[in-house]
Every structure is written in structure tokens, then in C-alpha cells.
């Protein structure tokens, strides 16, 4: 048993002819929040998809608690404590909040308890269970995506650009929810972000990705903002 909840070694993967990831190495300890930063097109989303088993690994290894998991389907990972909040087309717009949340569970019998859990951080969801997801505001949709990822009480959470395009107040709520969840259950979280200030406010450590590789990483402190901004901005 190692202390690393998630270990990624020399990972290569991609679509078609292209290798988007070109030897990514990254570790995430138990109870740690790591912010993975980088501009678009650098491979951050691809990394999460590869970990989730949605894209095939071409080289390298992905390990949970030290045992290799690459090649496992998403269902297996979800059943083994991984939660995932995807960025692209993340909700069933024509289904209700309840059904969107239900789909994250294997069995409907666990629904009531799971709803209570996510309701702690996002009570508005419980009040509007029958509302169609497509009619929610952008920020509410993001909170629903996060709530869904928390339905199975995962101890490893992968979050893809949850703060994109939403108001600061909602970003704040999401940050609080993530921190609360970590304090309550000691879970590990990998946040993929472009929003530097949000990412640094929740994370313990940061890493920057460029053209399919991790180019820099460090602990979050007073200098982090300047260092990372140099990598990110124009």
C-alpha cells in the first residue's frame, strides 16, 4: 500500500495518429488537492479521459493505490471510488436533475441516501429535483455536474474545468464544496483548470501541462500565482 492514491507514469495516449499525451508523469497523494493547469489543447482533458478509461493508454501506466488500472472500463473505475466531472457535453439536458443524478448510481435503491449527501453542499438541487437539467443556469449546471460526481462518495475525484464560464460567486461555492468534502472524508482531488485564482485557492499543489507533458510543478504558496501565470498567459 502506498500513500499515492493516483500515480501516472510516462503516460502516452491520443486520438487517431496523434499522441496528445507524450509521457505524462504525475502523482496525487491521499487527501491532497492538485491543480493541473495549462492552456487549451495541451492535453489536460485527454489526461482525465485516459485515466477514466475512455481513451486507450498507448504507453506508460496508470495506478490506483499502486496497482495498475489501465485498460479498465469507466464502470470499473467508478465502482472503485473514482468520481469524474467531465467538461464536454456533461449533462443530459432533457433529463431531470433527479435522473441525471440517478444515472451516476448503479442501483436506484441507494438514491435517497446519495441525494442527502450531495444535498449538503448543494441544497438547491434537492428542492428542484424534477427540473430539466437543460433549464438550469450555467453555474447551476456546473454544480449539478459536481454533485453527480460525488454521488458514489468517491475518494478520488477528477474534475475538468468546472469553473469555466461561471460567475465568481458560484466558483466560490464550488471551491467551498470541494474543501468541505476533503475535510469530511479526506478524499484526493485532481482539478484541471484554466482559472488560476480558483485553482490556487483550493489546491495544495499545482502542475502545468504543455504540449502533452508536465513542464513544471510546485506547492501552492505566495509565489505560485506569478510562476503559473507566466506559463499560462500571453
Amino acid at each position: 500500500m502506498t500513500d499515492n492514491r493516483l500515480t501516472i507514469e510516462a503516460l502516452t495516449s491520443g486520438y487517431g495518429e496523434t499522441d496528445i499525451l507524450q509521457g505524462v508523469a504525475l502523482t496525487l497523494c491521499r487527501g491532497e488537492i492538485l491543480a493541473l493547469m495549462g492552456r487549451n489543447g495541451m492535453g489536460k482533458t485527454t489526461l482525465l479521459k485516459t485515466v477514466m478509461g475512455l481513451i486507450q493508454t498507448r504507453a506508460g501506466r496508470i495506478m490506483l493505490d499502486g496497482s495498475p488500472v489501465d485498460g479498465k472500463p469507466p464502470a470499473w473505475l467508478l465502482a472503485h471510488g473514482v468520481g469524474y466531472a467531465p467538461q464536454e457535453l456533461p449533462l443530459f439536458q432533457d433529463l431531470s436533475i433527479r435522473d441525471n443524478l440517478r444515472l451516476a448510481l448503479r442501483h436506484d435503491r441507494d438514491l435517497a441516501k446519495a441525494l442527502q449527501n450531495v444535498g449538503r453542499s448543494f441544497p438547491f438541487l434537492l428542492e428542484r429535483l424534477e427540473q430539466l437539467a437543460g433549464t438550469l443556469s450555467g453555474g447551476e449546471q456546473k454544480m449539478l455536474i459536481l454533485a453527480r460526481a460525488l454521488m458514489n462518495e468517491p475518494d478520488l475525484l477528477l474534475i475538468d474545468e468546472i469553473s469555466e464560464g461561471i460567475q465568481p460567486s458560484v466558483v466560490q461555492r464550488i471551491a467551498t464544496a470541494l474543501k468541505t468534502e476533503r475535510e469530511r472524508r479526506g478524499i484526493s482531488i485532481l482539478v484541471v483548470e484554466q482559472n488560476l485564482d480558483f485553482a490556487l485557492s483550493v489546491a495544495d499543489r499545482w502542475a502545468v501541462m504543455k504540449l502533452g507533458q508536465i513542464v513544471d510543478e510546485g506547492a501552492c504558496n505566495a509565489e505560485s500565482r506569478e510562476t503559473v501565470l507566466k506559463h499560462l498567459s500571453i
Binding site: L54, A75, L78, F92, D99, R102, L103, A104
Partner: protein, 277 residues
Amino acid sequence: MALLLDITTTAALLFIVSAGLFVIFGVLKIINFAHAAWLTIGAYTTVVATRMGFSPWLSLPLAVFVGGLLGAATEIAIVRPLYRRSLDAILATWGLGVVIVQIITLTFGRDMQMPPALITGTVDVLGMPYSSYRLFLLVAAVIMGLAFVLVLERTRLGLNAQAVIMNETLARALGINTSQVRLVTFMLGSAIAALAGVLLTPLSSVDPTMGISWLIGAFMLVMVSGTSVAALALACLCFGAAQVLVSTWISPILGSVTVAVLCAVVLRLHPKGFARG
């Protein structure tokens, strides 16, 4: 009044015949051209059941069983490998249909069969005698439609199926076993088609090629309705009415192509069909 009854019962018949194809198209996004063969198989289960001396009613569960079994085999052997080649999947299921029709011909001969009807006679509707079997079909179609809605809205399988219909990638990312959903759907669709075949027996001639004449109409209705049950019901009602009216007032032969032609025109003018507005 008779016309109105004709219209609703014709619509019911169209709905029953298209339902199996609709289920498969909705989830798997492929047109199952073996649909005609499933209808035929369903009808021949009645032939077999009654020959063996059972009640024709027994052929209903029998057809569901046989259809489901064949559906499972077809999904695994033919449809699954062609998942990414949808036009080829159409062709392969068509080929399968040809094979099944020939096997039936070899077994039963190409002559018309006359199995006993499930229900005979007439009932009086507002003082006018009307075929009780056609009314029974209306009831069957309504039950089938309600069952669809219930399964989709109330069961976990229905929810998973909806998820696959709306966004298969996301469904997979949420851990839904999409290939299992596809398999079950194909089985269900085939079973429903076989069931429809049984229900057709008193109205249609039962011979090896009987399914073909129903295929195109069903196919066009499904194309127009997309993935919405309500749209399918509405399409059956509209085009069923058109068919009855054309057959009654112009010519029965033209009536038989009304559905196909109207659907083609609707799709040309409004490519989304009845699915959205």
C-alpha cells in the same frame, strides 16, 4: 363513423408494426432490415402453435421468446461488428432477412397459411357492427404505447436507454454498460416485432414474404418520428388517416404507398420529421 374507426385502427396497426423497428432505431441508430423477417417469424409461431393444437393466444409469449432469442443472436453476430458501419449494418440485416425468409419457405412451403384468428366476430359500436379484432388491435396498441412510456420513464433500463439515446459517450463515462443496453434493446425490439407478427395474422396473408410489404411503411414512420414515442403515435395517426382516406376515395393501390410517399415528402421539407415540432 366507420371511417373514423378505420383510421384509428389502421393507425394502431401501423404503430404495432413499427414499434419494434422504432425501439432498435432509437437506441442503436441502425435500421434493422431484418424487421420484416421478425414479423414473418412471429406470424409463423402462430402457425406452429395452432398446428400443435395449442390456442393461438399461446403464440403471443412464444413469439416474444423466439424473437428475443433471435434478436440476441443477431445483435451479437451481425450488428455489433458493424456498429461503426451503419449503412453496411442495413445491408447485413437485409441479407439476414433474405436468409430467414428462405428458411421459412424451405420449412413451410411458400403457400399461404391460415391460422385461426385470436378473436373473431364483430361488436356493435354505436349501433354499427365493427370487427372486434380491429378494436382489439386498438387496445393492444394503446397498451403497447403506455408500456413504452412506463418503461422509459419509470425503470432503470428505460433511463439507461434514454441516456444512451441522448449521448452515448457520456453514458459510458458514467459507467453505464452501453453494449448491454444495446443488446437488451435489440432483443426487445425483435421480440416486439415478432409479437406484431402474431397480431398481424388475422389481417394479413401469412406467407414467407408477408413481412416485406409492412417493412417500408414501418421504416418510413420510424424515420419521421426519430426517437419520440409521442411522435411515432402522432405519425401513425396522421399517415394512417391519409392512407385510409386515399384508399377509400381514390384507390386502394395508391393507398398502400401513401405512407411512404408522405413520409418522404415530410422528411424533405422538414428533415427532423415529427420529432421536434
